[in-house]
């Protein structure tokens, strides 16, 4: 199983809503990532979890709150978002941070988020 599964695939929310994006992998990977991708742009790193601990936060606004309940799951909690936060949110995993033998990221298909 080499899949990273993201739910939901699409999400529409108002600026006062609270929602969560979910990501799951069963490859035994110990690093998980959130990227944000605007249309026709490259993915931009938001957060990295390494061994279930937050290791990188790329100065993301606090209205985005990541959570890693266990090594297979990664959530992104959303609250009081702005219309400019509308984007494709991609989850990825890799075998392990600092693992020089296998560093490639495996991506999910993303959640297309629209904030109204």
């Amino acid at each position: 199983d080499t899949e990273v599964t993201q739910t939901p695939k699409h999400l529409v929310m108002g600026m006062t809503n609270k929602k969560s994006l979910k990501c799951e992998q069963h490859m035994g990977h110990r690093a998980m990532y959130w990227y944000k991708q605007k249309a026709k742009k490259p993915p931009e790193l938001m957060f990295v979890y390494s061994y279930e601990k937050l290791s990188i936060n790329e100065s993301v606004p606090s209205r985005f709150s990541p959570e890693c309940p266990n090594s297979s799951l990664l959530n992104l909690h959303l609250h009081a978002l702005q219309p400019e936060d509308s984007a494709l949110y991609l989850c990825a995993s890799s075998q392990g941070p600092g693992d020089t033998t296998n560093e490639k990221l495996f991506f999910g298909s993303g959640t297309q988020l629209s904030v109204l």
């Binding site: 990532y33 742009k41 490259p42 990188i56 990825a92 560093e103 490639k104 991506f107 999910g108």
Partner: protein, 113 residues
């Protein structure tokens, strides 16, 4: 910030041609490079990677070349097929603590039959 960029935003080729997609990077501390393919509505899909101690690596129909002297990376696709139509991103990882893959701007490859 972004450390990797691509030379051309679009590339159009005929089916059966060889395609070359180029990428320039700026961080001389980068030691790992990777190419991804992203089709519409999907997440990036791994194509091939290369470490800084190599200058060439081949996969199935794809070759990645790394020129560290001029900080240039290229992806060659042999016998391009319509199914190769997608956006191609290069990415690098600086050899520094607390870093992860940084993506370049992307090249849209269009293959006509």
């Amino acid at each position: 910030g972004e450390s990797v960029g691509l030379h051309l935003p679009t590339l159009s080729v005929q089916e059966g041609d060889n395609s070359i997609i180029n990428c320039a990077y700026s961080n001389s501390a980068s030691d790992y490079f990777i190419w991804y393919k992203q089709e519409s509505g999907k997440g990036p899909q791994f194509i091939i990677d290369i470490r800084s101690n190599m200058d060439k690596r081949q996969g199935q129909r794809v070759t990645v070349l790394l020129n560290k002297t001029v900080k240039h990376l290229s992806l060659q696709i042999a016998a391009t097929q319509p199914g190769d139509s997608a956006v191609y991103f290069c990415a690098d990882r600086p050899n520094q603590a607390g870093t992860a893959l940084i993506f370049g701007k992307g090249t849209t490859l269009s293959v006509s039959s």
